[in-house]
Amino acid sequence: MLSCSDTEEDPVGIYTYDNFFTSEDNVKSSLLYAYDNSREFDFYFTYYTLTELGTGSTFVTPNAISNNMQEIKNWNLDPTIGALQGFFESSYGGIKKANVILTYIDEIEFENEATRNQYKGEARFIRAFYYFHLVRLFGEVPVYTTEIDPDASSNTPASSVQEVYNQIIEDLNFAVANVPAFKIPGRADKTAAEAQLAKVYLHLASSKEYGSPRYEWVADQNQMYANAAQAAKNVLNSATFDLDASVFDTFPDNDRESNEKLFVWSVDVDGLEVGRTSLQTFFMPYTFYSQFYTDEPGTDNIIGYWGGWASMSYDHDDYLSHDTNDQRLDLFIKTIYSDPNGGNPADQGDIHYNLKYASETGAFYTGAATPFFLRMSDIALVYAEAVGPTGEGYNQINRIRNRANIGDLTPGLSRAAFIEAVWQERQWELVMEGYALFDLRRTHRVDEYVGRDVDYSYFFPIPQREVDLNQGIETDSEKKTLN
């Protein structure tokens, strides 16, 4: 008791870099934390608003004002928009989590060197995942590959778009080479890395082909298409993942046994405390403290718990553009029922709520859906687009169409017409999944699709806070008018 005080800072019960990065298990733990970054509201919610709202396929209720939804929808953007900053900041939060692992992992003894490389590969996948979002949304951004020094962060210039892509491709190639194939929800494996790589190459190829700004540096678009096709082919041939037999195997209950989801969010569908998000509430009808149901009688027709905010729904015209036989229309709901047996219907007019993220379990505004970042039908269409109107290309798009109960695509289309059809199919198949803006940007169609010239159509402005606090960044007013 009569011990003398010792002015050393010796924390107990608190993890610091020094006392935590000491074992293999702790690296894995930190890796799970890095995956968990996608569950940050600023990331996961803004991921949908930034990529969907401005494309016209999503209807936003006029009173939905959180997270700059109206500004994004109306392309009324400027560097001070909070949603841009939030997304930017949380993406870098994920990058930092990956970088810290990569900084410390070599100091730790591993029983098996392959495990070390697997963890490195997963960390580099995570880093590439965030940079791929940042470069497509903002263009030139600072690239960090080691733990960030707070002082240095105040004076780090942005890397060019090409440099960012080089880093992404290097990271993903490392992941493909070092991460084995496995299927663990919430984690990325070899197949996920290949899928991501296929999307990266397709983005480069089409951006170059259609003349999207800032992609002039891409040397050979055909090589990029070939790379995309090769990576997508590897995914399609995966032994563990495949298209589900029906879209309803993937939706709306977010069955995590689904074989189609290549990389899902690290959320736990059953958890009450851990791993939950409130994502579904933004797509759900506006209700409070109640369950609500589809018109299918029975116990499986609960579509939501504790209500929603009715922020985002499927655009009516886009909804009508589907073939009436299209089963994917059933992923949207117009009438909700407060009675499990179809009683008390409430018609929501022309509004079509998205059931892709609906979950029948959850409590108090937190849902338990298992959303995903990569899924097989996306990669099938990536492949189709990369190979064009070949037999394999037709085969892949028709797999998607047939599954949705619509017939084969007209045979013998020109490459341009075929690719146009792929784009249309992507819109029907992948609506409200966070791909729409990227498809428009890489195919140089933003203004055409929006129907008017808009500011920041190809790259969003770097958030003002970054410009203010990082002296290395120069504002790029050119972004406003890029076409």
């Binding site: 002015t7 800072e9 930092k96 989590k97 929800p185 959320v267 958890g271 806070r465 970054e466 960044i473």
Partner: protein, 1115 residues
Amino acid sequence: MLKFDLKMKLTTFLLFTALIGLQANDGYAQKTKVTLDVENATVLDIIDDIEAITDFRFIYKVKVVNLQRKLSIKLEQEKIDVVLERLFGNTATDYKVRGTQIILRPSSDKPKKVQLKVEQDPIEITGVVMDEDGMPLPGANIVEKGTTNGVTADFDGNFSIKVADENARLVVSYIGFATKEVPVLGQTSVLVSLNEDAAGLEQVVVIGYGAVKKSDLTGSVTSIDTEQIENIPVNQVGQLLQGRSTGLQITAPSDDPEAVISVQIRGASSLFGSREPLVVLDGIPFGTLQNLNQINPGDIKSIEILKDASAAAIYGSQGANGVILVTTKTGSVGKPEVFIETSYTVGGYTKDFERFKDLELYANIENTENINDGLAPSFDGTVRNGTYNPSPQEFANGTYRFYDWLPLLRNLDPVTESIRAGVNGGTENNKYRFSLSYLDQEGSVKGDQFKKLIVFFKDAIDITDKLKFQISTSFSDGKREFGTAGNPGRAWIKPFNEDGSYFIPEDEPNYFHPLVQKEDQFNQRTDFDVLANAELTWRPFPWLTASSKFSYNHLADTFDEYQKAKYTELFNSYSGIGSVREAKQRQTYLTNTLTFQKEFGEAHDLSVMVGRDDQIKKNRFIEITGRDFVTDDLLNENLPSATIENQLIDQGFVQEDLLSYYSRVNYNLLDKYLLTLTFRADGSSKFGENEKWGYFPAVALAWKMHEENFLKDVSYIDFLKLRVSGGITGNQGIQPYLTLPRLNDVSVYDWELGQNVLSAGPGDNLGNPNLRWESTEHYNAAIETAFFNSRLRFSAEAYFKHTTDLSRTQFLAPSAGANSIRINNGVIDNWGLEFQLGGDIVRTENVSFSADLNFSMNRNEVVDIGTAAGSGLIEDFSGNQFIDTGLSVQGSSGLNMVNAIGEPLSSFYGFISEGVIQTEEQKALGFGARRNFGDFRYRDLNGNGIVDDQDRTIIGDPTPDFIASLNLSFSYKNFDMSAMFNGVYGNDILDRQREFRPYGKTNAWSLDNQETVFPALSNSRNFPNNTFYIMDGSFLRLSALTAGYNLVVPEQNFFKKVRFFFSGTNVFIIDNDFEGYDPEVYEADSSLTGGGAIGLYRGGDPRQRKFTIGVNLTF
């Protein structure tokens, strides 16, 4: 009834005659012969005789000549030289004859020095200590000067002490009286008469790691007279200190047993660090004033407030907010004395709680609100969602009536019972005190109860003359049952059926009765605290003292909480939630000091103290929560029966170590010039290698001008001291571990294992190894005076505090992946003036009346908070540059309280309201969507024709322009009375509920009521912060009134003292039309700058008016 000091007058007169006497014949001394024949007369008597029969006049200073010495002299026709030699030869007094003047002064050649070396048997001296009126002073201390040899006078003032030889001097002291030095001079019996020391200048004042005479203080220290606050029943010492010292601002917003009060000494000087002074209990740094709840206020002997750097720098890094020293009572010599004090207090509210009793009016107002909001009226006589809503007519015709739920949910006259008892006594070598106090206080809501038992024991043992040991322990066992306020619900539903059972409306089977709601929540805290101190003092030589002090404080709090299923199911899907939280704090403290004190000749008095402190604080908690229970029956005593996934554990541990070296040098030259040098070095575990140590020096000078020759004999000046000081104190300003990069640990779901796992990784907590102490330069200048035998006292102080290296947040570029880092940068200045005026207006044997006025003003300014980017500085159109404090208030989003450069800390921010919109054109001056008739309109500061966010500016300052207090004491024979007035002036209050209270609603703007400041009725229009919500917070309160009567107890009675007392707190208040309950407001909120918001009114549990009767018995 004025009573002048006759001796002082005489001295002046003699000086006068001496000047005249210069003309007299030089040969008088040679010519004059004196005859004396006196037996056992005092020197004074003999001098008087000589003056009566001759022209000789004696000139001397009363203090330095022993006039009480008795001797017998028989002389006939001797020259004055011979007489004087008989009188003063071989004594401590020298004489000199100049003409007819005989000048007496202390002998300079120490004639007895030779004899000192001779070993002598101790001499026993007996004596009695009395006051001026001859009343004995029991408990007076008698110490042989320069030794540790001391005794205490008994009940009759008698004492007996053995001294080394006849040259010994006795130092006699008693609280409230001037200390007197009495030479023994061969007498065996002395009578000591002490003069009342109204200014307390001779009183010994505790300072950090030592004590000095009040008159020798060089720093700014206020001593609080604990006698004055003895009979005021509060359970928080902080409340007692309100108004008792200049420079001390205490804001106590509530009478809740454990309300968080704000304590600030000389303004606030930290953004995120603590603003509370350090409390030191019996020499042990103890925490904040809140921590003193562990101590029974009845055991407190003295409280000192250290304000300037000279006084506080000895506490270094803990001293920047000032220091409060609390000393507990020690036993006194004598037979065991048993004391019992018991009191009974009834509280009440100074105003009725605002609520609608006229339900028709209420329904109409609610309906109007809905109509204004474009909704259907809510009181329309229909059933909605299973609830019947009566119409205004049904209220008017009495179908539904008002039931007052308030008395069912609140304690409108909460009772506090208090008993303090103990025993006090001891011998010269072993003094003890044992006390027990029990407090039982009702809170302001039903079911809220606070109980506390404190047992205190202290024993001071003199092992030898040179070795002393003291031990003290305090056990405190407390329990707080938190009542839940309970939602009063609908006032037209009756609470009870005829038979007293709870009334449930027939058509509402799910009606949740408010009293059931209360019963369904169980929430209590129990604490058991142990404080143990031990101190060993060794004084091998009179000039050297070594002291070692050890303290261990263990605080254990247990929080029990349970919400029954019926309650929790209302809000979520769990059936019952229960938790137990155990929090333990352990503080170990070891201090070792060495004090050297010696007089060198008559002129130099030097004391040097060096020391080292070791301080370790460990905080640990564990919390277990369970949810979803099969039954509520076991409350939170059966958490394992919760379903597995609903068993949650939380845990934490924090340790802080502080290692300090310090030294103080006091040098006293000629008892006129005083110098204090202080230095402390603190090493803290909170800081990284580079900045681990902080250094805190201070210097102070004081000049006791009244000791100078030119003032010495000015009769009406008793005391005049000038002092200046300057130094540096620090504030740690941060929580532990902020220098380290800490990982976040969160639970994630591991799909591989199929379970939740703890995972960790880098989050927002970037460590900054270069964090350092906030540092405050503090300069102080003061004058202290006492006039007319200390009947008039005045002192003034001026200070300037310059705080640099403010610990604050530096924001990082988003690409850093973290929001911010803690850094040191920023400057706050405080300056102020303090005045103290005291007067004994009447001072006679039977009647006394005195008044003391304290006046303090402090100006506070944020000088620098870094660059716009680095600290997130916002600049508005008006040129204000500020950071947000983070204050969020109901009904207002955005900025409410800011720290702006050039403005006081925590200034209010918002629009300037210009009234409500009355015309179509004025609608342009509304804000946002709120621009209808009856909404606020605002001043368009930037003149762009619309009101936008650039039209906001600083709109108020919650810090008072000045605070003042007046303390009146009156006594007549055995009756005494005192009153304390306390006031603040010129502070603003942010009252965001202003238009929502019944007064605001009934006076709302409407077409029929256009002359009003209140906006139109609405439920949905939340206005941004603006001047409408800023109220004047000035007030004057009679905060305490005490009257007591001491029964005349005959001697030898069983009872030694019987005192009855009556007291009132918060007797009345005068404010400037504050519409809320009470303008003394403070909201503790750890998320805010400085841990709380002064000046924010949220309508919390307000101050009560309390009356107490009690009795003190001693036998």
